[in-house]
Structures are given as C-alpha cells and as structure tokens.
Symmetry: C2
C-alpha cells in the first residue's frame, strides 16, 4: 500500500569516535523512504533539494524504486546541510552546522497522484509545513508525525495544531518530557495523547522504545550491537520501517503496532552499522527476518508460576 513521506533530503557531515563522513547523503525523507521501501513497493517522497544535489544521489533513490515525482529541485538554491559530532558513547551529539538553504522557502505542493496516499509519514520539519502536506492528502488511513525540541520550543502553537491531525507521534524521551512538561514518562504519555495522537512512541536510543496505545504500554528493547558507527538517521529509519510495516499490513490495532515497532527497531539497528544510509541500500530480506526473530529471544520472558506463600505462612509463626 502507498506511503507518502515528507522530510528533508540533505547533505550530512558526520564525525564519530570511529571516523568521519563529509557531505554524505542524508535527511529524514531519505532514511524514511529507504527503510519503508523494504515493506512497500509504493513509497512516495516529498522534499526539496538545491541545484548542487548530485544526479548520482537522485539515481540512488530512484534505483531503489522510490517514487521521486515529489522531489522538487530548486536550481537557484543549495541543498539543506547538517553537520554534527557524536560523543564517545554515541548517546549525545553536538550540532556543528545547520544550513537550511532551499528548505527556508519550501512550500510543498504534492503531485496529484500522491493525493490517494494511505499511510503518511511526516518527517521532522516545521509543523506548519507538515500540516499543509497533510491537508493535500485526501483520506489517509494512518498519519505518523515526527518532531523535535526546536519546534516544541519555537512553534508550540503550530505543533499543537498539527498534533490534532495525526494518529501517531514519534519523539524521544527528553522531547516527551519537554512537550508535556512532565518528568514521568507514563504521565507524559497521557498528556501528549490528550493533544491528539491516539498512538505515541517514545524513543530512548540505546534503551529501545515505548509504545503507548489503547491504554497499553509496550516496551521494546534496542537491538544490542557491538559495533555502532553512526546513529544519524536511526530515528527516521525507525519511522520508515514502522510506517512500512503498517502500510504492508494495513492494520493499525495494538498488536500490529507492536509488531511495527519491532520492524522499525530492526531497520534502525541496521542504519547505525555504517556511515550514512549505506547499510539500507542493499539489505537482504533474510537478514531482516533473522534480526526480527532475534528480537523475540532478546525480550521473551519465560513462563512464570505464581509465587507461593513463603512469606505469609511463616509470618504467622
């Protein structure tokens, strides 16, 4: 089934303790669509790049079968650029540069043939732009929204308007605390679901993710990896795998959402194994299956017998 992804297609310059990668292909829409493409053969991209964006990168996305009718090329401008440096434990990073370039004036008009998209994945962008895109889709079945602290702090009203229109918000734990003004994540989740989304996913990096849906909480671990080279795009890849699995199943109940979280986590675990999106370009399907099944072993609790009455019986003595 069709997935529409809006976000950035960008250049990233990345420094990690294990090396650096200058000006590689990046951006939220890149990671979302590459990951979603493993689950759906109808993945539609909406983004803008500048005149400096190499044909080679366009070809790379097209060769993966991603629909680029919505990729606007602003010949007069330059492509969005982000540079960052990760700390020793990879859990924190410093942003070294953010150049909006063509993104500063981006006002997406989606191609006519995208209007029937069924799953919509709104990558991290100005919430007003996210909403404008959403208004151009006729009858989406499931709308997923990512955001970040910048929008929570600087455009809170626009973000609230967008949140009223989405089914699922994906944010990290510190953003959840900031958005809800509540340090306890369980309470934070309730506050955020009161803003509109009936489904909330709180990402916790190396600690996995929490899914809140229909009054249930589902805790998914991150896949334990010995070698993590570059966390860039992991969150977007999660969203892409999550959206892709849902579009494939075309079911949005709690059990399907739990499975989608595992598929999203699996795709994210591959993304971090190489610099940039390299690992997502040629991932054998049996590798995805193997890792998804390993997730079950990782967190499956063996059968538990109820505790007998050791304490109470002896307390009476």
């Amino acid at each position: 089934m069709s997935i529409l992804a809006i976000g950035t297609v960008a250049f990233d310059s990345i420094e990690t303790p294990f090396g650096s990668a200058p000006k590689v292909l990046g951006g939220s829409a890149t990671y979302i669509t590459l990951a979603a493409r493993y689950f759906s053969d109808d993945v539609r991209l909406v983004a803008v790049v500048g005149g400096d964006f190499p044909d080679e990168y366009v070809a790379l996305l097209r060769d993966r079968g991603i629909d680029l009718a919505g990729l606007e090329v602003d010949r007069a401008g330059e492509t969005f650029f982000w540079a960052g440096r990760y700390h020793f434990d990879l859990n924190n990073r410093d942003t070294l540069a953010t150049r909006l370039n063509v993104l500063a004036t981006f006002n997406p008009v989606i191609p006519e043939q995208y209007r029937d998209s069924k799953v919509v994945c709104l990558g991290n962008l100005d919430p007003t732009i996210q909403r404008r895109v959403l208004e151009q889709v006729d009858a989406p079945e499931f709308v997923i929204c990512d955001t970040m602290n910048f929008w929570i702090e600087n455009t809170p009203d626009a973000l609230r308007e967008t949140l009223r229109l989405v089914d699922c918000l994906i944010i990290n734990d510190s953003e959840a605390r900031e958005l809800s003004r509540e340090p306890n994540l369980i309470k934070a989740a309730r506050v955020i679901c009161g803003m509109g989304p009936r489904v909330l996913i709180i990402k916790k990096g190396e600690h996995g993710a929490l899914l809140f849906v229909e009054g249930q909480i589902f805790s998914a671990p991150a896949f334990p990896l010995e070698d993590i080279y570059d966390p860039t795009g992991a969150g977007d890849t999660f969203a892409g795998g999550f959206a892709g699995y849902l579009a494939r199943q075309r079911r949005y109940d709690a059990e399907s959402l739990k499975r989608a979280v595992i598929y999203g986590s699996t795709m994210a675990s591959y993304a971090v194994e190489r610099f940039g999106p390299d690992r997502l370009l040629n991932l054998p399907e049996d590798e995805i299956n193997t890792r998804v099944l390993a997730f079950r072993n990782l967190s499956t609790i063996p059968e538990l017998e109820p505790l007998g009455s050791v304490w109470q019986s002896t307390q009476l003595v």
Copy 2:
C-alpha cells in the same frame, strides 16, 4: 533455601522533589533481606550497626522473619549514615553526606550456623570485606556481588580478586563502562565476564536491566510507574528479589536467571513507591504475582511472520 546477605544496615536521609525523609531505616542489607524474604524463609543477615540503632528497627527486621544472628552491634560507635538529594527526573542524585562510622572498622565474622548458606548476596561494600565473608561460607551454590564506582576507582585490585570468586555481578551501566573501559555495553559485558562472573546484570534504572548469560542477552524493561517517590534501595531490592527467586528455585540456568530478573525488577518497582523500605514491609503476595504477570504483557512481542519479498522482486524490474 538459605540466603546469606551481607551489606549495610543504615540510616538514610533522603530528599526528592516529592518530599524528604530524615534518618529512616536504610542500607543494602536491609533492602536485600526484606525483598529476599518474600521468596525464602531462611534469610540471614550480616551487618554492623552502632549503639544508636533503635530497637524498633531491629524488631522490624526480626518480625519479618529475618535471621539477625549476624547483626553485630558496636555499642561504642554510630550507625552508618547516608544522605542524598535526587534531581527532578529522579535519574540522578547528589550525595550530601556519607558517614562510615562503625563500618570503618567492620570485620565480619559470620555465625557458625551461616556457614552452610547456599545463595550468597554480597551487597555493595569494600571488596576485601566481601571476599572475607565469602571465604567463611563452606559451599555456596550461587554467589551474587554488587559493587559501585567508588570501589572500581579506589580498590581495583581487591575488586578483581573478589570478582574471580563470584557467579554473578550486578552493576549499573556507567559502572560497567568504567570497570571494562569500554563504552559499548555488549563489549563491556564480554570484558567483565572475562574477569570471573559467568552471569552479568547491567542495571539501567528507568530503562530496565540487561542479563548476560551463556552467550545470550536478555533485556528486561523497568515496570512503568506513574508515581516514583524514592529510588533509594531499588538496586538492592532488585538483588534481593533476584537472589530470593534463585534460592527458591535452586536452579541457576539461563531461563531461571531470566525469571529471577523479572522478580527482582518487580520487587524494585515496589521499593520506589514509598520513602525508605516501607513498601517492602507488608506486600501482599498476590500483588507481586499480578505485577510479575504484567511484566509479560509489557514486553511480549506478538508472533511475527517472515517478511515477504516486496523489495527484491521489484528491484528486478
């Protein structure tokens, strides 16, 4: 089956964003034994207190059926005292005071009738003292050891000696990184298991715990709580529930250890619901059973079907 726990019995003064509790009953041996007591009717405590330790606290432990033959009272000294203040999100705390008092000269001689103890839980203490206690036990079946950054930094050689003698080490994630000098937790676990323990548990606070055993990794979430009042003693309570479950089952294979982690996590989730050990004093057995089963729902991944060939089939087009 018998459990021997050594650690501190102490006064704690606790400040959290939700209130404060001056000079309440605390200490690692207190939390370990109170939690273990729900699983075994033979829980033996080894610790020292000063002449200022109130009879009321002694009675409280005795009334719970904890064997206090190993509780030394040093009439001339004062009881170990710790004071701390938790930050807003409860994930971090500042130590305001640590007065070793009678602990400074503690040289435990365990009662003759404790020598046959089967599960030994070495609470956080000087590793040399931990080792001396262990040497006085005839043939323990399973030895669990807790430690902290202070001993990793200040008595590394003594800690290494103790680690060679234990079956299971329980530490938190930053301590695991420090002990192994390795930022990646999976690699850190391998380094630490090379130091002696065949089982390693890495506690991650609100993010749960990782169990490493027999080449397997098991990820257990923390129980999601809306109201956490006081994290003090949560780690010791985990160790007590973990040790207690193992002593009860008298099996130490991977599946039993996974279950023990869930029981330990369950007990810890109760400990944090009140200041000090209050919640552990009268916990109905059916509440423990209910929460243990809720853990399964929290992290049970629904059946997953292998991914079909969406991507590869269309790639050939």
